[in-house]
């Protein structure tokens, strides 16, 4: 299969990225990740809980098999995001970061101004930056100009499971992008993921929908299949939703015999 996803200098077979939050346990998380066929998992950075030494979730993720993509969730401005990125890099030696600057604790919507600011700093510092943004086509182009490796526009707010609320804007971003477009956040059902791939997204990122399912491992399988189906459909050149115009008065009659 030659249809690979290329981000920065790496190639991936799978176009499904998986988040590791909200799982009931490390074992369930590990099984879901495996069943999803993903090659990239996101993780967050959190303060060690001194009083309660938790299980170390990182041990459950095989670092040789999956690319760890730290996110900067929790950062409320560019400075915090940059700091978290550097901490993550120090921890893993990986310079990939999912840039997430979310000052609003209700909808967790990303701050466009701080995200752009942080992206510029991080790119200069040698990071491979994957910025999480609202579906704003201009912002997407500005981030691309700044050198980010992808853009990651949301479909609907994190955890809302509402699918492609931002579909029209996503289509514009996809049309205009020169970097891979990864639709992230709000994909609640495999059909949402398939739809994102059908409209031309290069990949999707799913977390809540898998972690919160009754059977996360099986839901991971469903998402894997949906992403593959959507991508294959996209590449096969969909036939069409009929939108044929009805001719009222002929515009081209004058061309007869010309």
């Amino acid at each position: 299969m030659t249809d690979k996803l290329v981000i920065a200098d790496r190639e991936f077979q799978s176009r499904l990225l998986v988040g590791t939050g909200k799982f009931a346990s490390c074992e369930i998380m590990a099984e879901a990740i495996e069943k999803s066929g993903t090659e990239v998992v996101t993780v967050a950075l959190r303060r060690v809980d001194i009083e309660n030494e938790n299980d170390d979730m990182l041990a459950a993720i095989d670092r040789d098999k999956y690319l760890l993509l730290p996110n900067t969730s929790g950062a409320r401005d560019a400075e915090e995001a940059v700091r978290l990125s550097k901490l993550a890099r120090a921890a893993t030696g990986i310079n990939w970061v999912k840039l997430e600057v979310t000052p609003d604790p209700y909808y967790l919507l990303p701050d466009p101004v701080e995200t752009l600011k942080a992206a510029e700093i991080l790119v200069q510092d040698g990071f491979v930056v994957l910025p999480y943004i609202n579906a704003d086509p201009i912002l997407a182009k500005k981030l691309e100009d700044a050198g980010t490796a992808t853009v990651m526009p949301l479909a609907s707010p994190i955890g809302s499971n509402q699918g492609l609320q931002t579909r029209a804007a996503l289509e514009i971003i996809i049309e205009q992008a020169n970097v891979p477009v990864v639709v992230d956040a709000g994909l609640g059902l495999p059909s949402h993921a398939a739809e994102a791939m059908e409209i031309g997204a290069d990949a999707v990122l799913v977390n809540t929908a898998i972690a919160a399912a009754a059977d996360p491992a099986e839901m991971a399988v469903a998402f894997k299949l949906a992403v593959e189906a959507g991508r294959t459909a996209r590449l096969s050149g969909p036939g069409a939703v009929s939108r044929r115009a009805s001719a009222s008065s002929p515009l081209t009659g004058f061309l007869r015999n010309k």
Binding site: G19, F23, L45, V48, I50, D56, L58, L68, S73, L87
Partner: protein
């Protein structure tokens, strides 16, 4: 901080760890590695920041701590 207490000297020092003040009755641990041991935290998965500067894991045993410093101990957790 030195208290004169019935002729004895007790050295109580403080570190701000992850936003909370923590007292060390016998003075702060000598190095980060010692601190992690003291707290029962595995070093392998932790990143440390002292007063805003990142300290790499291979330097944990060599980085000395001083009373009054702010330490951030951070590790990876689940996230989207």
């Amino acid at each position: 901080m030195l208290f004169l207490f019935f002729g004895g000297v007790i050295k109580v020092e403080v570190l701000n760890i992850n936003g909370a003040e923590r007292q060390f009755a016998d003075g702060v641990p000598a190095t980060i590695a010692d601190l992690l041991n003291h707290l029962g935290i595995k070093a392998a998965t932790v990143v440390a920041e002292i007063d805003g500067t990142i300290v790499h894991r291979d330097k944990f045993a060599k980085t000395n701590l001083r009373h009054g410093q702010s330490i951030e101990l951070v590790r990876f957790a689940g996230g989207g």
